[in-house]
C-alpha cells in the first residue's frame, strides 16, 4: 500500500497548485478514502474517538446490506444498474458542487446514493433514476449548503419529485417478485418484459380489500419498491443501526408505536378503510422509512423530545394518508412533512431547555 501512498504524494502538487487545482476536492476525497488523514490534534483533547463521518455512513450501508441482498434476490440484476446510475448521477452533482464551493466532498452522498434506488419501483427507467437522484441531491441538499445543512432527506426529495413529475411511469414500474428458489439473481428484468410487470403493490390491492399474505411481506416476495419489500431484512439492518447508535431509537419507536396505536384505533373504528395493524406495519415503505429515512440525523430534530414528537407525527400522518386520502402510501410525504416540522420542534424544545438553564449554576 506504500506504493499507492507514494503515487498520491507524487501527484498531490498537481492538484494543490498545478493545472488540476480545481479538482482538489476530488483528489482529497480519493486520498482520504484510501488512507486515513494525516492530521493530528493540536490542543486538548489530544486523542479522538475513532468514529468519523465516513465510518458512520458506512454503518448505514452495512445496515442496508440485507435489504440490498433481498432486492437482488427478488428483482434481479437490474438493481446493480440502478445503484450504479444513482451513484454516478448523484456523485456528479456532489463533486461539481464541491469543486464550485471549493469544499471537501462529503460522505453523506454514499448513503443517499444507496438509499435512493432502494425506494424506487424496480423497473423504473434508468434515466429517471439518474434524474431523480440528481434532483434530490441538488434541490434537497446542495441548495441548502450541503451535508449537515439540508432541511430534507435528499433521497426522499428525489422520490417525491419523480412521483409528481412522472406519476404514470412511477405507478407502472412495479415488478412481480420471483417466487423461484433461485430468485432473479441471474436475470435482468426491466419494463420491457411485460409479463414480469406488476399492476399494483399490496397497499394498492388492499384499498380494494385484497390483502397479501403477511408471510410474503415478511419475507419480501411481494411487489413494491426495490428495497422495501422484505420486512425481515429491514428489521435486521434497522436493529443493527439502533445498536450502533447511528439511528436514534426514539424516532423509530415514535413512528412505529404511534402508527400501531392510531392504526389499531382506526382499524377498530373504520375496518373498511384501515387494515390490520400488523399487516400495515409490514406493508409498503413504513419500516424502511422508519429505520433508514426518518432517522437521518441531519433532517430530523436533534433534541430527544423533538425526536419523539417527530416520530409520532410521521406515524400518525402515515396512517391518515394510507387510510383517508387518494394515495395508497404516505411514508414519503409523512417524513418530508416531519422534516419541515423538525426545526420548529427543535426550536420549541430548545426554548424550554434554555429557560431551564437560565437559573443553573
Amino acid at each position: 500500500m506504500k506504493v499507492l501512498l507514494k503515487v498520491f504524494e507524487a501527484v498531490r502538487p498537481t492538484f494543490e497548485q498545478g493545472k488540476l487545482k480545481a479538482f482538489k476536492p476530488l483528489y482529497e476525497a480519493m486520498e482520504n478514502f484510501f488512507f486515513a488523514p494525516s492530521t493530528t490534534t493540536t490542543t486538548a483533547p489530544h486523542v479522538r474517538d475513532p468514529l468519523d463521518v465516513k465510518r458512520l455512513m458506512s454503518m448505514v450501508i452495512i445496515a442496508l446490506l440485507p435489504s440490498i441482498a433481498a432486492s437482488f434476490y427478488f428483482f434481479g440484476l437490474r438493481m446493480v444498474a440502478m445503484i450504479i446510475v444513482s451513484y454516478a448521477a448523484g456523485g456528479a452533482v456532489e463533486v461539481i458542487f464541491a469543486i464550485v464551493r471549493k469544499e471537501n466532498i462529503n460522505e453523506g452522498f454514499l448513503v443517499t446514493g444507496m438509499l435512493f434506488p432502494l425506494i424506487l419501483p424496480p423497473a423504473l427507467p434508468l434515466w429517471m433514476v439518474g434524474l431523480g437522484v440528481a434532483f434530490g441531491v441538488f434541490v434537497g441538499k446542495e441548495l441548502f449548503g450541503g451535508t449537515g445543512r439540508n432541511l430534507f432527506n435528499p433521497a426522499l426529495v428525489g422520490r417525491c419529485f419523480l412521483s409528481l413529475a412522472y406519476p404514470k411511469t412511477m405507478s407502472a414500474s412495479w415488478l412481480e417478485p420471483s417466487r423461484d428458489l433461485a430468485g432473479r439473481l441471474l436475470q435482468y428484468v426491466d419494463a420491457s418484459s411485460v409479463d414480469a410487470l406488476s399492476s399494483a403493490t399490496p397497499l394498492a390491492l388492499a384499498k380494494q380489500g385484497e390483502f397479501a399474505s403477511l408471510s410474503h411481506q415478511l419475507f419480501g416476495s411481494v411487489s413494491g419498491s426495490a428495497g422495501e419489500t422484505s420486512a425481515i431484512a429491514i428489521i435486521l439492518g434497522g436493529v443493527f443501526l439502533l445498536l450502533t447508535r447511528v439511528a436514534n431509537w426514539r424516532t423509530v419507536v415514535g413512528i412505529l408505536g404511534s402508527f400501531a396505536l392510531l392504526g389499531g384505533v382506526l382499524h377498530y373504528a373504520h375496518p373498511e378503510k384501515v387494515g390490520p395493524v400488523l399487516w400495515h406495519l409490514c406493508a409498503g415503505g413504513l419500516l424502511f422509512g422508519a429505520f433508514f429515512m426518518a432517522t437521518d440525523p441531519v433532517s430530523s430534530p436533534i433534541s430527544n423530545a423533538g425526536k419523539w414528537c417527530y416520530g409520532i407525527m410521521i406515524g400518525c400522518v402515515t396512517v391518515l394518508i394510507r387510510g383517508f386520502t387518494g394515495y395508497v402510501e404516505g411514508v414519503t410525504f409523512a417524513i418530508l412533512l416531519g422534516n419541515i416540522f423538525a426545526p420548529i420542534l427543535d426550536e420549541m424544545v430548545i426554548a424550554v431547555r434554555i429557560r431551564r438553564l437560565r437559573s443553573e449554576g
Binding site: 500500500m1 486515513a36 488523514p37 474517538d49 463521518v53 458512520l56 447508535r245
Partner: protein
C-alpha cells in the same frame, strides 16, 4: 418559617442528598499509573517555570546569584492574592539562565526553612485574629495554590468565607495523580487536614467526594471520618468527568450567587494539614506519569521545578511522543522550552505521535479501537485500554447533528447548538445557551464524528463574552461618571446663577 420557605428548604435538602449526574464517558488509555509512589533521584538543578495555568509569578523576591533555603519565597503572583512560588530546595538562584524560569543551582536537600518566626505570628494574630492567621499561613506556606473556586477554577479570596468546601479525592481523567496514591500512608494527615479546613468555616458544610467503589481504601477512609458531622460524603460513579467540582457544585444545588465555593483535591487537604498543623511549607508533589510509551507507569514523588528531562530519561521510551502536562483530555502539550514541572502539575501523560496512515481504516472491523457509539467490532469485547495516538482519525466536516456531544456533556448544555450559533456569529445566543457552564472536559470534541474542535471554540467564546461584558461594564461606568460630572457642573452653575 413560612410554609413556602419550608417547602423550598425541603426541596433544597432533597436536592443536596441526591446527586444526579449527566453524561460523561471514560476514555480508556493504555498505561494507567499504578498507585505506588516512586522516589525520584534528587536533582542538582531545578527549573521553576514562572507561569502555570493559573499563576504568573511576576513579582520576584530574590536576586541573581542569591542563596536560598528550601521554603523561601522566590516570587509572588500579585494578581492572585500574592500566592508565592516557594523554593523546593536550597541553592543558588539564577534568574537569567533560562527565559521564563527561576533556576536553582546546586540544589540540596537541607532542612527546610524554619517555622515562621514566633514574633511575627504573634503580631499577626493580634492584627488578624485566629482565623486570619490561618488564612495567612495557607497563603504564605504555599497551600493556597491548591484551592480553587468551584465554578470558575480561579484562585479564591483567602479572606472570604465560602458557602461550602468541596473536597474531591477522585481523579478520573487519564492520567493525573490519583487520590488513592497521594493518600497512601497519609490518611491521618488527610483527616487532620479536613479538621483544619473545618476550622476555617463557621457552620458551612464540607462535601467529600469519593468514587463509588467498595474498595478497601474507600472503606478505610469512610471509617476514618465517621463522626465528622460536618463532612457530607458524596459518592460519584467512576465516570469522567463526574469528579469535576463545577459539576458537583451545580448538582449539589450550590448557587454561584450565594457566595464562593471552595474546592480542593487530596493534595490541597494534605497541604492544609502541613501548613496549619505543622506550620511547614508544602514543597513535595506526587504526580503521575502514564500513557503509551512509558516504562512502568506510576506515581512519582517530585517537587516543582523537577527537570522533565530526568523523568523522560527514566520513564519514556517512545521516541516520537507528545508529553502532556495533565491528562489527555484537558492537558497542555509541553514543548521543548519547558524544562521543569510547574507548581500546578498533577501528572504527565505520554502519547505517541501519529506516524502511519492506515489503509482503508474506515472499513476495518475495528477490534482494536473502541468508540462511543459502538460502531466497531470491539463493542463485542470487554472494555479495554486503547492504544491511542495524536491522530485526528477523520476529516473535519460540518456538524451532522448526531447529538453525541449532548449525550456525553456533563454540564447539560447543548454543544451542537452553541457550535451552530458560533458558526453564525450569534454571540448573544451563545451566552443565552449558557456556554459559561461548560467545564472544558473535552468530551464533546472527543466524540464528535465531524472532528469539530468544540472545546477550543467554547473556550474562545467564553473569553470573548467575558471581554464584551467587561467592556460593557466599563462603558456603563464611564457614562455614569459623565452623568455625575454633568450633574455636578449643572448644580455649580445653578448655584452661581
Amino acid at each position: 418559617m413560612s410554609v413556602l420557605s419550608w417547602i423550598e428548604f425541603e426541596a433544597t435538602e432533597k436536592r443536596k442528598g441526591t446527586v444526579k449526574l449527566k453524561g460523561g464517558y471514560n476514555v480508556l488509555l493504555q498505561g494507567r499509573p499504578e498507585s505506588t509512589v516512586r522516589l525520584m533521584p534528587e536533582p542538582s538543578v531545578l527549573y521553576l517555570p514562572l507561569r502555570s495555568k493559573r499563576f504568573a509569578f511576576s513579582e520576584l523576591s530574590v536576586k541573581e546569584g542569591e542563596y536560598v533555603n528550601a521554603g523561601d519565597i522566590l516570587a509572588r503572583d500579585p494578581d492572585n492574592f500574592g500566592v508565592p512560588l516557594l523554593a523546593p530546595r536550597g541553592g543558588k538562584v539564577r534568574l537569567e539562565k533560562v527565559p521564563g524560569h527561576i533556576v536553582i543551582e546546586d540544589a540540596a536537600k537541607v532542612q527546610e526553612h524554619a517555622d515562621m518566626a514566633e514574633e511575627e505570628l504573634l503580631h499577626l494574630e493580634q492584627e488578624m485574629g485566629a482565623g486570619g492567621i490561618k488564612r495567612y499561613k495557607l497563603v504564605t506556606l504555599g497551600a493556597w495554590e491548591f484551592f480553587y473556586d468551584a465554578y470558575t477554577g480561579a484562585v479564591p479570596d483567602p479572606l472570604g468565607t465560602p458557602q461550602a468546601i468541596i473536597v474531591s479525592i477522585a481523579s478520573l481523567e487519564p492520567f493525573v495523580a490519583r487520590g488513592d496514591a497521594q493518600l497512601r500512608n497519609r490518611l491521618l494527615n488527610f483527616t487532620r487536614g479536613l479538621e483544619q479546613l473545618q476550622s476555617l468555616l463557621e457552620y458551612q458544610p464540607i462535601y467529600l467526594v469519593m468514587p463509588d467503589v467498595e474498595s478497601e481504601f474507600v472503606n478505610l477512609l469512610r471509617n476514618h471520618i465517621r463522626g465528622y458531622a460536618w463532612v457530607k460524603i458524596v459518592e460519584i460513579p467512576l465516570r469522567y468527568p463526574h469528579d469535576h467540582v463545577a459539576i458537583l457544585a451545580r448538582r449539589l444545588g450550590l448557587k454561584r450567587s450565594n457566595g464562593p465555593i471552595w474546592a480542593v483535591r487530596t493534595e490541597g487537604v494534605l497541604a492544609t494539614d502541613r501548613a496549619l498543623t505543622l506550620t511547614k511549607p508544602c514543597l513535595i508533589r506526587i504526580v503521575s506519569i502514564g500513557g503509551i510509551g512509558v516504562n512502568s507507569p506510576a506515581h512519582l514523588n517530585v517537587m516543582p521545578g523537577y527537570p522533565i528531562k530526568m523523568i523522560k530519561e527514566r520513564y519514556v521510551f517512545e521516541p516520537a511522543a507528545r508529553l502532556i502536562n495533565g491528562g489527555i483530555l484537558t492537558g497542555e502539550p509541553l514543548g521543548a522550552e519547558a524544562l521543569g514541572l510547574d507548581t500546578e502539575c498533577r501528572g504527565l501523560t505520554v502519547l505517541p505521535e501519529l506516524e502511519d496512515r492506515e489503509f482503508l481504516g474506515f472499513i476495518r472491523p475495528g477490534w482494536d479501537r473502541s468508540c462511543y457509539a459502538g460502531c466497531f467490532l470491539s463493542s463485542l469485547r470487554v472494555k479495554f485500554h486503547e492504544r491511542f495516538t495524536t491522530g485526528m482519525r477523520g476529516e473535519g466536516r460540518p456538524c451532522i447533528s448526531c447529538s453525541f456531544c449532548e449525550d456525553v456533556c456533563p454540564a447539560g448544555i447543548m454543544p451542537h447548538l452553541i457550535h451552530k450559533y458560533l458558526y453564525r456569529d450569534l454571540i448573544e445566543e451563545v451566552d443565552m445557551a449558557r456556554v459559561d457552564l461548560c467545564v472544558e472536559c473535552g468530551l464533546c470534541s472527543f466524540v464528535c464524528p465531524s472532528k469539530i474542535d468544540l472545546r477550543q471554540q467554547f473556550i474562545d467564546a467564553k473569553a470573548l463574552i467575558e471581554q464584551e461584558k467587561q467592556e460593557l461594564r466599563k462603558e456603563q461606568e464611564r457614562q455614569e461618571k459623565e452623568r455625575e460630572e454633568q450633574a455636578a457642573t449643572k448644580s455649580v452653575e445653578e448655584k452661581d446663577a
